[in-house]
């Protein structure tokens, strides 16, 4: 059974801090790992990672995958209150209709 574990479960930081969110996984026949941000409603896509060691970057957010150690991290630099959300990690095995297994998420709160 595929499994995704995220840590920490929740985190409170001050605006301007840098945070690192962790995602470890077990999946049969890995295809990709995805990060989503969920504010009040629908999760919105952040990154898809398929290859080890290649950093994906979007503004202050970046993510990298280690396929040997089976984990990924999501970094957010210079955090802002608008970064407050639940961050979800999911893995996709090969050979299925994009069937994802999600972690329980990390709840990030950025305070002034």
């Amino acid at each position: 059974e595929d499994k995704v574990v995220q840590s920490p479960l929740s985190l409170v930081v001050h605006e301007g801090d840098t945070v690192t969110l962790n995602c470890s996984y077990e999946v049969t026949n890995f295809r990709s790992l995805l990060w989503y941000k969920q504010e009040k409603k629908a999760p919105t896509f952040l990154f898809m990672l398929t290859s080890s060691g290649i950093e994906k970057k979007s503004g202050r957010l970046s993510s990298i995958l280690d396929k040997k150690e089976l984990f990924s991290i999501l970094n957010i630099t210079a955090t802002q209150t608008g970064d407050s959300a639940i961050y979800l990690c999911a893995v996709e095995p090969a050979g299925t209709a994009s069937k994802l297994t999600f972690g329980t998420g990390t709840r990030l709160q950025v305070t002034l």
């Binding site: 995805l34 989503y36 409603k41 629908a42 896509f45 979800l88 994009s98 069937k99």
Partner: protein, 114 residues
């Protein structure tokens, strides 16, 4: 932009009622998914469909059924709602099977069963 819409944002039903949750996507995606999201449990897959009239059980299909009569529409049915089905229900779609395709989510339906 991909748009996934769900028929209701909030829904309150009574135990034993039949409940229909509708999801529509406008990007001609082949795959559609129904999840429920509960605190501490994350998103769990109920059912998914990779083509019209095709469906596959996810991780927690018990108590649910689905229907996909048209490509753009995927319905989740609770035949006899129970209080333990109170949850946030999220629909998603993705382009095609094979290759990595991002799932796009609808806004969610918060269902309360009394």
């Amino acid at each position: 932009d991909v748009k996934v819409t769900q028929s209701s944002r909030y829904l309150v039903k009574r135990t034993g009622e039949k409940v229909f949750l509708e999801c529509v996507q406008d990007m001609d995606h082949e795959n559609m998914f129904w999840y429920r999201q509960d605190p501490g449990l994350g998103l769990r897959l109920i059912y998914f469909s990779y083509d019209v009239k095709m469906k596959e059980k996810g991780d927690i299909p018990e108590g649910y059924s689905v229907s996909r009569e048209k490509k753009e529409r995927f319905s989740l049915i609770l035949e006899s709602a129970s209080t333990n089905q109170t949850s946030m229900y999220l629909c998603a779609s993705s382009l095609s099977q094979g290759g990595s395709d991002t799932q796009y989510f609808g806004p969610g339906t918060r269902l309360t069963v009394l």
